[in-house]
Point group: C2
Chain length 319, copies 2
Amino acid sequence: MTNIKDLAKMAGVSVTTVSRVLNEHPYVSEKKRMAVLEAIKATNYHKNINAVHLSKGNTLLMGVVLPFTGHPYFASLLKGIARIALEHDYKLVLFQTDYLESRELDALLMLKEKQIDSLIICSRACSLATIEEHLHYGSIVLCENIKREQISTTFVNHYSVFFEALEYLYQKGHQKIGYCIGRRSGSSSKKREQAYKDFLVKYDLHFRPEYIMDNCLYVEDAEKIIKELKTMEVPPTALLVTNDQIAAGVVTCCHNEGIAIPDELAIIGFDNQPIAKMMNITTIDIPHEQMGENLFLQAVGEEISHTEVKVKLIERGTV
Amino acid sequence: MTNIKDLAKMAGVSVTTVSRVLNEHPYVSEKKRMAVLEAIKATNYHKNINAVHLSKGNTLLMGVVLPFTGHPYFASLLKGIARIALEHDYKLVLFQTDYLESRELDALLMLKEKQIDSLIICSRACSLATIEEHLHYGSIVLCENIKREQISTTFVNHYSVFFEALEYLYQKGHQKIGYCIGRRSGSSSKKREQAYKDFLVKYDLHFRPEYIMDNCLYVEDAEKIIKELKTMEVPPTALLVTNDQIAAGVVTCCHNEGIAIPDELAIIGFDNQPIAKMMNITTIDIPHEQMGENLFLQAVGEEISHTEVKVKLIERGTV
């Protein structure tokens, strides 16, 4: 039986164009439309949307698994993915998981049933083994630093980035350094924690568990951070804040509370969002939108690749 | 032929539960699973994913049309939609349109082909007539202030909200008031512009076209706004800034430039986002996440309804 890919090949156009002609979509050039119609006539093709969807999984739908849509980190990734998906005529199916494994299984199930062509997992709760079981149903790409033969990845080397940021603060004279993190149990957070502990060992510094502040996700968590600092007998003199919106919140709260930056508290944000530039916050530039684009291209591409994203420290006024 | 709805009815469970049993999803209670298996046996039902999708359009996929995912207003709406979709076991198909009509037509086409059950249009470029042509394929809900018999809506009365904010500034002594808007050609923006003009007429104030600043979408646009203000011979003494992130940017830029708030420039933001509270910005509280939830419920519900969302002015330190 002729399928939509055969028609595309015969007519010398993309599958998307054939789909548009079949669906009487207005945005197809007359020349391409005629080529497709001729191919349809020649093969006596009957449009069958089931056949299109089930024969090869060519749905032009891509799944995106992410815990929260509203969080600035995931919002930036999604922005990059959505922008390039638009250019490639893909639609995105969002799986907002709240880190529930059952929601991730839903996404894997849709891949299995060919309801989506491929899957980007921005952050996961399920095991790698579970993901690997589903690889033969379609491509799955991950946004984390692991090396598997069958899984493309785009990632930041969180260990070395964190270590370098800590070294930078140390060279500026800081020995009491804390950090704020979104979800301490995540795989990236574990790498950061390892970097933190290795840094303390390297410089023979005291480990203070209260210097690691967990569950810092949104700008409003800044108030909680400042409150915690004020209860500490020996508060840190510098903080790594793993996203710029929270860093902006911390700067604002310090301003409200009369805490001098950087003299009493130095701050390094992460991401280099516009608000960091505007508020003159020292930060680590991480191109999340480009990461999203790369994840998309890996998901639609044929080859497996592992892309480490380059980041850099932007020196401004908060250190 | 027995379909999945029949099985659900027989087994006394939801369609979702039947779907989960058919797909060997682990998260179903043993009791429900047994009831479904009995119904399957009794009817000699054969799972057919096509049949499920094509017979009634019960895909548990909802389309969401929005111009940009990264914009804070749309991000908040999406956050609300995504949260309640999760509770109802719906997945979202994102149509990021960039206000291209062809992208909106893609979404309407997927509704026509039953690839999605229903569609939330957060903001549109296509005509109401085009939308109305597609209403018999599935439910379509809009996030704007129009009254049509067949289309549910959730909306803010932008005219009266804008008018009241202007009146508030007038009562505080301001007669030279400007505003910043995302997309002047949008239907909500037109209502705001009408309110602005009616306000000027009411108080016999001079209309200055430069006081309406268009294309203000992101926090970084604040720099552009301040730059423009500085070129004006008679700059406004107060600004309505139609989202809080830009308002936060404007406050920060004024701080950087030594412009005193509220003495030299008063500011009212919109949305009541956490950053507004933290920076003590007077704002209009608009519950976007709740609006998103309501849109979802309208899309899955049977009845047509028109929900006007209540907003309120939060008096803080920038007026």
